[in-house]
Symmetry: D3
Subunit: 186 residues, 6 copies
């Protein structure tokens, strides 16, 4: 089992890259030093759980799916929206298979299963996780707008489109009409 | 229910602060622009799941506990180790109660339950999450060492002490003897 | 005396941490990479001297008090306003006693005396230094507002409250109604 | 007196620039995001006081001189060492005269007097302040070396040369042979 | 020829400093972490080529002149506008002579010739390069304005003055009336 | 022609993105805040000219080709080496065609011609530019190594492979055996 531990450590080091890789869309919006993939992933996972709780889905499962939803970006980076015209979106499942090759089988199946379920968008938990991905972007756009960034409308609008759940739509509605600092005033 | 959505959005904005707050221990170690709480939380949650999978615990639950383990730091910041001599560690449960006051009850109970379970350290999942908190610190210390930081020994040593699970001890052992870049050579 | 020199060097290295620790309130305001404690301390000390000069107090003494007013934050970090509900404010004098333990007695008494006088707020110099602490925050809030940060009002308002000296009140009044760049136009 | 307040606010805004301007020498040493002038100034002022205390000089005065020693760099930036071959060092007194033009006379004389005394290097306090300027550079060089920067020798060596006071020479000696983290081990 | 190679490598390392040195004017405008000299130089060179193409000048030559127009700042830093009152602008040709001393003669003459031609402003290519220097500043000012910076007017106005070419004047006119993100909407 | 000016401004704004996009390979190497594409491009263009001068090629043309060699990354980002297993490298010529669509024909042909020539690698100038791309990476790797980054060997080794020109091979040889600060000692 020492080899298993090495495989786990190696994978964890690869995941550490997500702390350094920046979300490329924000550069387009004019932010010079934007959040990391990890920053985005944490709140997306938290939001997935909250949405799932309200929607009657399994909160821990929804959060878990969100936790791996961008983990493939260690290998490809965060492809900006404008890239789609020039390259075929890489297959997250294939990358995950390669990333998890050195893991002991329980861990391996765990991560692959999460990516599969998320990408298939069949379960309510996967849809909560996908909504959370978009909602975090919306909230972050409002936060950047509040920090001075002028042209966040495109990000806010695209985040609001095609949300799966009613809860997400309501959070989106509330979020755009509210100060990110309101929690401090209670 | 619009008020519920507002409560959820407000809480999510508060959590966004974890993307900006830095992990204060690394300033002590000499790092000038260290990782955020969110950066740390993401990998801790991922590690919690992997450890739990190997230990026969519930991976999604372990990850879920890790996801909230530092969420109280929106209100107190990340208190450095040296602060313990001068102030009583604030009670995470109390802060969580306040943070979740405006949430609809399902979400509220969900988050409070997670913090309670994590802080009690009674379940195997809570112990996996706690180990993951320490392991991420160890891995990050090695990563900073690899980036040039000379005095990370204290962080590495303290992370290795008092780990609950055998899996975590083995990952720690493997991690200190290995390059953070080895995954790229496969 | 070589041991004295070591004690002085050790204390100076501890103070160096103030160059890295960020002012946590600005994260709340939405600033992603805010000023350091040292940044704040320098201008607070300069302002303390200017206020003292106008108020008929000892400018060098007022500046000197301001120079140490946050020096305890090497050990506790910069506790945000929201932390006050969850922990008792640590005693600056006690921390200073510990920090200066290894200093030769003249230096030790010097620093302890400055922190005592500042915390007691009895002398005019201490009040000028306290006002300078607030004024620098006000000026910085205006500077961040000028850089795009939308919600600085809370910081500006709280800085203007309870200023001890007439000079500080007048500077505050002038500062909020003026461009931070006006000096370049002369 | 409202005009006086405006002059004071205007000067304080100009001084705020020192929080943003970086110490250019560290770019030469390979540091990509180095400390600000304000970071340097705070510890230099603190060191000046400690040196003065040990040397029997006036600590508050020495700190006060150090507080203004680079304040002219709002107008010229921090000229790197390599610039001296290509331009005549600007006169700090002249810049100070211009910077303080709009100040009420007490403040004006205060700042001009400090810069005059510092530049003349005639008083023991001025020499303590000058030594502090160099000592902070030495300590910072060791701190950057500890963070991985390989070629700090030139900065350390030049800082140790031509120190005026015995206390400074001893602190320099102690500092180069010691860990910047030793204070945490007490 | 090994010595030649060493001279070339040495010069290239010196030029690398331009990636770290920040454009000092933006600190004055309130930007806390502004672009590097290299950032500015790249787009200035690209703009010089485009302007030259439209003006019937040699695009590659114009770009080439722009490529070296700030290369002397490795030695002096980027002197802010406010410095001109206090020091004589250093002679770019003299600095270039010193920087290129260790180069083999072809390279040496090449770089010196470019700086000479640029500084003389006699050729159309030199004027296109100078216009490009200003245009990049104007575009960057608009980009910072779009990121929240309030007081960029001075930079925009000064960039528009005294442009040599009609093409540059037209680009300036178009740029101030347009969104920096419009290219994404095509 | 006002429409032409708009097309030119629009393209220039798109190019400005290269100042913000980071070189992704350095994140893999452990650098947390690496250089921009523009930083890299400037020195690559300068190096291309120097190599061309020594190789008897046209220096301005070689620099010009280097100036556009990564300009397509506004749309795709900087794809890391590990991405090649998962997606087909996008065609730079196609992206350039799209980017330059709104340009007046002289500018349009100019940029397209440069990208074509660079990608074909048929001319000596194109080969000098390609070598410069690699050499800048090698120099930057040494610079990061000097700033503490431990695992730069892979980048240095890959940069030295398959250089087209003898001059580049000699510069590479000299650069790895030399201090990036040696120019300051002359």
């Amino acid at each position: 089992m020492p080899e298993d531990a090495e495989g786990l450590a190696e994978f964890a080091y690869e995941l550490g890259l997500l702390k350094r890789v920046r979300r490329s869309g924000w550069w387009h919006a004019g932010v010079s030093d934007p959040e990391s993939i990890a920053d985005h992933t944490m709140r997306a996972a938290q939001l997935a759980a909250l949405i799932a709780a309200e929607e009657g889905a399994d909160p821990a499962r929804a959060a878990f799916l969100a936790l791996w939803h961008d983990s493939q970006e260690t290998r490809t980076g965060d492809l900006p929206h404008t890239a789609t015209a020039y390259l075929a979106k890489p297959d997250p499942r294939q990358i995950t298979v390669d990333q998890t090759q050195g893991l002991p089988w329980r861990s391996r199946e765990l991560v692959r299963g999460a990516v599969d379920e998320y990408e298939s968008r069949q379960t309510l938990e996967a849809r909560c996780a996908k909504d959370a991905d978009k909602l975090d972007m919306l909230l972050q756009a409002v936060e950047y707008r509040d920090a001075g960034v002028q042209r966040t409308d495109g990000w806010i609008d695209s985040a609001r489109k095609d949300l799966y759940t009613e809860t997400s739509r309501r959070i989106a509605e509330a979020a755009v009409n509210m100060s990110p600092l309101s929690w401090r005033d209670r």
